[in-house]
Amino acid sequence: MARNEGTPVIRASALTKSYGRDRGIESLDFDVEQGEIFGFLGPNGAGKTTTIRLLLDLIRPTSGIVRLFGVEPRSNPGLRRRIGYLPGDLRLYEHLTGREILQYFAELRGLSSPAAGHALAERFGLELDRPVKSLSRGNRQKIGIVQAFMHDPELIILDEPTSGLDPLVQQTFYALLLEVRSTGRTVFLSSHVLPEVQHVADRVALLREGKVLLIETVEALRSHALTHVEVTLAEVAARDAFAGLEGVQEVERHNSTILFALRGEIDPLVKALAAHHVLGIDSHEADLEDVFLSLYRQGHDAP
């Protein structure tokens, strides 16, 4: 995908926010480039929301630098005209209707009309004329999404955006993300579960206990992923029948059924199996969730 060389849309360098002992974030470094969907992943409490609130100048860094479009958010509140934001803990004015909230934010952002918001609301099947207090969690979340996109922002920051949305609406939402990316918009997408971002994100950062464990493209992560292959043989194979094969690891064995973990090609295993009477082969696609879990564990074991 084409990326503009130049100022990153988001740059965090040595970004630190301390709150006492355990919480906060420690020396985060990452760039988000124009036109990408950047997944920001980590378990709850890893510091995702803290980072996002630093980006929006709702809180201030203890040390380090954050830049949006090359400038400091603190001294440039006008910058937020170019940003759409969906908070993780979305709270709306209970007594206002969706239409009123969109109208209010359209005025504050200097839009001539909230018409774009109304069109989005229609797309999400959002009832605009009921007060927020009578709306379900999913419908409130739709208002949050619509207001984040309605002013066609260059950068959209979404904190756990699909929580409370039913699967059909989630599909609409992902389609919207891909559309805005195709027009060169940038999306910063936080989540605590990988499946939520793996189909749309270009790159992901993995956060744990306030630190970035890694930043990778989704393809690179996928190539790290192990494929599980379950093979059932007609007879019980010798203990060391599959030892020493390139990229093949025997995980477990129940009588004549063996589970292998593969890294890379399946060919060495297939060649070795040819010497046996094979009753069945069952292969599971690379699961990024497993990669993440193993990375978390490594991060945890590291000193």
């Binding site: 609130r53 929006l56 100048d57 709702l58 809180i59 201030r60 509140p77 006008g78 910058l79 937020r80 005209r81 940003i83 934001y85 908070p87 803990d89 979305l90 709270r91 709306l92 004015y93 007594h95 009123e100 109208q103 209010y104 934010f105 005025e107 504050l108 952002r109 200097g110 949050g144 207001q147």
Partner: protein
């Protein structure tokens, strides 16, 4: 009505303003309707003149306690306690809701994700508070003007306006204090508790100074002293006392965005 933070804040308080207005009108109507029977009641006046000094200090407003004149009656019955009480409650409530209320309800994050600076937000909230109190001040003044006219009480409209303005500035001072504390700490509880405690203390210091001479230096620091000391119902506006109240309001109002800009939102 949703064009700005200022306009939305006023819109949100329209119902509260209606109720406070009804309360003020009711208060004035009740007090004014009793006046004809009170001011000719020599026995009652004698009784009040014989009140202990300490008790008189609590019902005094400006000059002496005097139920025979319209200005004296209005001062003691309407302005000494009831008007500041109602206006202060309204002002402190609105001031505490302005920033701390939004912050505790969690709507401030999304509001400040809009292209509006913290300073701008604080100033619009302050302006909305001032506008709300101006509405109540006008209602109070109009109710007094009509009420005194109907009851044949001779207090000039300018004198009523002066007393109303002083009461409004007093209430605005504590309302701005609530807004200041709320935007400095982001919590609704202290934003109510601090100005309430400050107002009760200032009220007691002012009233007790008449009896406890040790308090008289502190009396000059009490906003309640400057509220009544110029005797606005008889003398009209006192540039000195009214000016001091206004200065205190403006000082706190200037500090509000400065502290709000610096801190982390909760």
């Amino acid at each position: 009505m949703l064009r700005s933070v200022f306009a939305k804040t006023l819109r949100d308080s329209r119902r509260a303003l209606l109720w406070w207005s009804l309360g003020l009108v009711g208060l004035v109507a009740m007090m004014v309707s009793v006046y004809p029977s009170v001011h000719q009641n020599a026995g009652l006046n004698k009784l009040i003149q014989d009140y202990p000094k300490a008790l008189k200090a609590f019902i005094a407003f400006g000059g002496t306690v005097d139920y025979t004149s319209a200005a004296g009656y209005l001062g003691s019955e309407v302005f000494s306690l009831m008007v500041p009480l109602l206006l202060l409650i309204a002002a402190i409530g609105a001031g505490a809701r302005a920033v701390a209320g939004e912050e505790e309800q969690g709507t401030l994050d999304l509001l400040l994700a809009n292209p509006i600076s913290r300073r701008r937000l604080a100033l619009e909230k302050l302006a909305a508070l001032a506008a709300e109190l101006s509405v109540l001040a006008f209602v109070l003044w109009a109710a007094l003007a009509i009420g005194t006219g109907l009851a044949g009480m001779h207090v000039g409209l300018d004198k009523l306006a002066a007393a109303t303005l002083d009461a409004t500035l007093l209430a605005l001072l504590y309302g701005v204090l609530a807004l200041f504390v709320g935007s400095a700490f982001g919590r609704h509880g202290p934003a109510v508790a601090v100005p309430v405690a400050a107002a009760v203390a200032a009220y007691l210091v002012n009233a007790l100074a008449a009896v406890v001479s040790a308090l008289s230096p502190a009396q000059k620091a009490s906003p309640f002293f400057h509220y009544a000391a110029g005797d606005p119902l008889r003398q009209g506006l006192s540039p000195w006392h009214t000016g001091l109240l206004a200065l205190a309001v403006v000082t706190l109002a200037i500090l509000t965005p400065l502290t709000f800009e610096r801190r982390d939102l909760s």
